[in-house]
Symmetry: C2
Subunit: 307 residues, 2 copies
């Protein structure tokens, strides 16, 4: 059961020869969730061997060009490939006007439907749910309405210990109940305590995506204890003032949030094109939050199952 993030682009608004525009893909149990869609995302998806047909949900943090200009080409390619499945888009409401006027001019006959799910950028709300995942918005602090996204696995069931079904003759009908933590009473009326039958469940895994944003402590309770936090660090600490003016974060801001939220691991990214080498930003962040890494295009971060 995979829970794996792939970084498709790690630059801020101006791309470089090594960093593409912002897009992430989260693989949750082999369903692929696309987060933001900067120019070139479809090309990055191809290069990272992510099949277009596995993407049904796209989450858009905000309507700045560097986070959405890849949507036009992706929508067009899906159409040329004769996609049939609905494509769900989670974003601020103005996106509909932008995409629909594009489609009206460039696409005409769409082979599939776009389904819009608008979020209130001021609220922390549930925007997506399936059997094994929920996605909540994270209100961020940027020049335009912006939300991050918190992806959290739903609770796993307890796991059966080896051979218990045969040993205790548990009927198939009752397996679900045992996995849910209940004891088992056999045909002789004997009670087998659940601990003898099961192992504790796997922990639920979580990923929080926070960009673009100025430093905002309001997000701390929402992202507390997540396994993996992506937080933008557009600038180094000497440009704190500029970061505030442009409603972006520094390496220090990102690491401080990670520390306060007690996350397990921090990825910084959305780097300004001025940094040919981002090791300065990484060092600054690591001084505050040691388990920090710097995003690189094409890199994968897998969270393994653990009890």
């Amino acid at each position: 059961m995979t829970f794996e993030l792939t970084i498709l682009g790690s630059s801020s608004a101006v791309p470089t020869s090594k960093r593409n525009l912002t897009a992430h893909v989260l693989n949750v149990h082999e369903r692929f969730f696309l987060i933001d869609c900067g120019e070139g995302t479809q090309l990055q998806l191809r290069k990272n061997n992510i099949r277009f047909g596995k993407i049904d949900h796209i989450f858009i943090s905000h309507l700045h060009g560097d986070h959405i200009f890849g949507l036009f080409g992706l929508i067009s390619t899906f159409n040329l490939l004769n996609r049939k499945n609905d494509l769900h888009i989670y974003a601020y409401q103005e996106i509909e006007k932008i995409l629909e006027s594009h489609i009206a001019y460039f696409e005409r006959n769409m082979s599939y439907k776009l389904v819009y799910h608008f979020f209130n950028p001021k609220k922390n709300e549930l925007v997506f749910e399936n059997d094994n995942l929920t996605v909540h918005t994270i209100p961020l602090k940027h020049k335009v309405p912006t939300c991050g996204f918190l992806f959290r696995e739903k609770g796993h069931l307890r796991n059966l210990r080896k051979n218990v079904v045969e040993t205790y003759q548990i009927p198939i009908k009752q397996i679900q109940s045992v996995k849910e933590g209940n004891d088992f009473i056999n045909d002789d009326g004997e009670l087998i305590p659940n601990e003898r039958l099961t192992l504790p469940p796997y922990k639920t895994r979580s990923y929080a995506y926070c960009t673009d944003t100025a430093y905002s402590e309001k997000i701390v309770p929402i992202i507390e204890n997540v396994d993996l936090l992506f937080h933008e660090a557009t600038l180094a600490k000497n440009l704190q003032k500029q970061a505030k003016q442009t409603t972006h974060s520094t390496s220090i801001d990102a690491a401080t949030i990670a520390k306060k939220a007690n996350v397990k691991k921090l990825i910084i990214g959305h780097f300004s094109a001025r940094y040919k080498d981002v090791s300065v930003l990484l060092q600054q962040a690591q001084e505050i939050f040691p388990n920090t890494v710097a995003a690189e295009d094409g890199e994968k971060y897998s969270i393994e199952l653990s009890r």
Copy 2:
């Protein structure tokens, strides 16, 4: 004096992991002319070390997404980089509406001006001229108004032979006249014939860009004898019928045009994503026109000076 083409993208409408969307750059004496601008063009420019500041002119063949979706990001990046020079766009008139509505939403404060130059898609007309280059449109046959572009160096002057200025005491004022082919009369009234003073001029170099288009013999007189022809070959010859229906060309169409127009070299490209390996298309073209190559992203084709 450079005359060099760089292929930035060689796919047709659906890109692949190895082929980006359509864009070419022609370097004429260190001015860079961008031709079409598919998604990801700004990233390809970066990867090919082409400085944004050297691009003042963009030629757009037609208004299909795979040829223009890179404009949004490029215009935005130029703005973020605080470009001051005008950016000239040569295209069918509807482009203005498309770009201006984008700019109104995404850019607001533009640091530079877009200057539009509209062409009549049915005419072969001069759309650009400077001291050493002319650009004419080439009416093509596609579903929407489409033109290719013919880039032709202006005639070079004759070149002075070694040391003639000193030997014959030619005053600086008269050098231009000698380079233009006139004889020189010295202070003693002696006539020095031009052949003794100069070498023949370099030949003018030319590049014709023809995509997207169905087979059209009407373009032959316009592109006759060019040094380099790019002609689309979206499909192989067994898909001739489909090519006609979609107003695209086969490898055979491209090579036949190259042969009829007596061009020096043919590049085929705009390949359908169905071809992992384009050697079949290349072989088919070479059977008709041997000096054919298949476009690859990042490849450069330089035309050297010759007399």
